[in-house]
């Protein structure tokens, strides 16, 4: 081999080796498809979405199922122009995944958004990532398709219309009619009657109540609604405004009353580690007298697989009145489900077409196929089961909305209230300490 050639090789070999290594890394880091497709379904040539991407939660398949049904039927045209694409994540991931996507401008068209961050003043809201639905619905001329009470509930809870009311729920007690009848119990209308009913069931060897310690809201709802009955619907707002505290005697009474139900053993053994599936299976198996839950339970009531006793065995009554309290039994805890928001950046005419179709058809479709109530009017007549009609009547008679316990506060408060709710019932924490934990969380949330 000539000397000059060996020199050339010696000089260039390291450079070639280095370039090859860099090329390997560049290849490894490059996009797998070699193209520039956007996984969020955004950035079409005319701006906005290229597909109707929806990030939902695994725990609640209801919206996804109904949208899929609509995409194949009433919304087929909208779907042809902007195909529906659904991705599910665990509810626990929403708080970290969605803000991260927002910060990277990688939000899907529609997504479940963190409750606290989506309120006016919250990071998601203030970042401008959320579409103003009231203005959009007005522009599209579909506001008439939203139940006024549902729209009002969204605005009361979040301060603005940031969430599509795919659900409209009232909450209260589901009860086993057969067990009530067998033990001569009337539907309670006052807190004292409620406790007496629980005591009667307990004496008869029936577990009076059930709740899931792993889903703290099934217990904290007792607190917020008791406070709304005893102190009025502004009870929690007064705490937010600094005019009251959970350590105040009247607030502490609410915590003590709820704690006393657990102390009496009304929730049965293992309430702290119990999960929500166990709660509903206990109830529908006929082993429990009463269960606090929402009107979304209707779909389970009419599901033969979940409810072998049949819908006639169960009824629904509002949270009882607290004697001498300033609240009313016709103030209902209401919500519109998890926050389902739209990306302001990805909105375009095709997304608008989807919204029009949803607003016009979702209410009837959901009722017809899943027996559930949404915040949209039913434009097509659907045969409504008796219990559903009864609950709709109760919704219509509601005079005020009670917001849930965690709603007006921050994320730390939500965690503190929920994770300590089970121990509040099984004696793991005293009412005084529970109040102190809540106060501490409010201070930490700032």
């Amino acid at each position: 081999m000539p000397r000059s050639s060996r020199l050339m090789r010696r000089r260039f070999a390291p450079a070639v080796a280095g370039a090859a290594a860099l090329a390997l890394i560049a290849t490894a880091c490059g996009p797998a498809d070699g193209g520039g497709s956007d996984p969020t379904g955004g950035d079409s040539a005319d701006g906005g979405a290229t597909e109707f991407s929806f990030l939902t939660i695994t725990e609640n398949p209801q919206i996804g199922e109904e949208l899929t049904r609509l995409s194949e039927g009433a919304c087929a045209d909208a779907n042809a122009a902007l195909p529906l694409s659904i991705e599910s994540i665990a509810q626990a991931e929403v708080n970290n995944r969605v803000p991260l996507l927002a910060s990277q401008e990688a939000l899907p068209v529609m997504f479940i958004s963190p409750t606290t961050e989506s309120k006016v003043g919250g990071d998601m809201y203030e970042s401008g990532a959320l579409l103003d639905l009231e203005t959009t619905f007005d522009e599209l001329g579909i506001m008439d398709n939203v139940l006024p009470a549902a729209a009002e509930t969204v605005k009361t809870i979040y301060g603005s219309m940031v969430s599509i009311p795919f659900q409209y729920n009232v909450e209260g007690f589901w009860y086993n009619k057969d067990l009530f009848e067998a033990n001569g119990i009337e539907v309670p209308t006052t807190w004292e009657d409620f406790k007496a009913a629980a005591a009667t069931l307990d004496t008869a060897g029936v577990q009076p109540l059930t709740a899931a310690g792993t889903q703290g809201w099934t217990i904290t709802r007792y607190l917020s609604t008791y406070l709304a009955r005893s102190q009025g619907v502004d009870a929690l707002q007064n705490v937010v405004d600094g005019n009251a505290s959970f350590s105040d005697p009247e607030y502490l009474t609410a915590i003590e009353e709820v704690s006393s139900l657990g102390e009496a053993g009304y929730f049965g053994e293992g309430v702290t580690s119990r999960d929500i599936d166990t709660v509903t299976s206990q109830f529908f198996a006929g082993n429990v007298g009463m269960m606090y839950n929402g009107s979304w339970t209707l779909s389970s009531v009419y599901d033969e697989a979940q409810n072998p006793l049949g819908p006639d065995s169960f009824g629904f009554f509002p949270f009882p009145e607290v004697e001498g309290g300033s609240g009313s039994i016709s103030d209902y805890p209401a919500n519109t489900g998890t926050v389902t928001a739209l990306s302001a950046d990805l909105y375009n005419d095709k997304v608008g077409d989807w919204l029009v179709c949803i607003a016009e058809n979702y209410g009837s479709s959901l009722m017809e196929n899943q027996g559930a109530i949404s915040g949209f009017v039913q434009n097509t007549e659907v045969e409504t089961p008796e219990l559903v009609s009864e609950i709709v009547t109760q919704m219509e008679s509601a005079t005020g909305a009670v917001i849930w316990f965690e709603a007006p506060f921050g994320a730390r408060f939500g965690d503190a209230a929920g994770t300590n709710a089970g121990p509040l019932l099984d004696g793991g924490i005293t009412p005084e300490d529970y109040a102190a934990v809540l106060e501490e969380a409010i201070a930490a949330d700032g």
Binding site: A15, L24, E117, S127, T214, E269, G270, G410, T419
Partner: protein
Amino acid sequence: MQSVLGDKRAIVILLAPALLFYTLIKVVPIFWSLGLTFFDGNVLRGFTPAGFANFTRLVGDSNFWESLTFSFKYAAVATVLQVTAGYLLALLYVFALKRSSVIVRTICFFPVILPTVAVAQLFKRLFAINPQPGPVNALIEFFGGQSIDWLGDATTAFWVFMIMDVWKSMGFFAVLLFAGLVDIPEEIIESARIDGANGLRLVRHMIIPLSLPVLLSAIVFAINSTFKVFDSVIALTNGGPGNDTTPLTLYMFRTTFTYNEYGYGSTLALALTVVAFLITIVVFRSSRRDVTAAGGAKK
């Protein structure tokens, strides 16, 4: 090839991409996180300088001290139990089962390869009280006792963690320590036996000192994994009841990604790093001293 590797520029060029890659994905985030400790905010809200406010807050944060205490307690008890169980199994392999230990070793190692979340679900069912009592509570009821809400109470939940951890990891430590034990020369053991050392005396005065280096390695492994426990806690109790089973790792995760406080979350991460670093120093110092002692014993 020799001409390429003999050239310093070639070495630099070959190493540079890997080094750059390592720096980008490992070193930069560490310093980035360190920088965040002096800021307040998150990716959506933006960041504002906070000076030493996050550090002041850390000192007065009762949740931090509680989770740090839980992490220490978890690491200490789990390390002792894991290594002890692994060591006993290793002794069983070497001195009792000898060459027929392969099947037992394989069976005992099996839980190590199972996903932690699956193991946690298994133990959840094992110690369940609802909807039906799990096998443990069924056994208690069979003997006339009353079912226990194992995961609903901080003390009992802690011991469920310990049982689960030992079951899952003792196979790994047994194999690790087994390798150390088979390395002990047979003639030394034999001569000790001839000198009258048997049973516990043999283990205490000969086997343990001679296997001390690998035993210390096992302890380092155990502390390292148990102090950073995260996934099994999420799957089994999610840190509850209350915050009673929340280790520092979970508190850090929640602060950063649930409460969206990136600055304070980074401060907690820094605290975790410092504590882990201190533990490593203590263990390695003890390790150096004891290895020498073991070497002395060999002589």
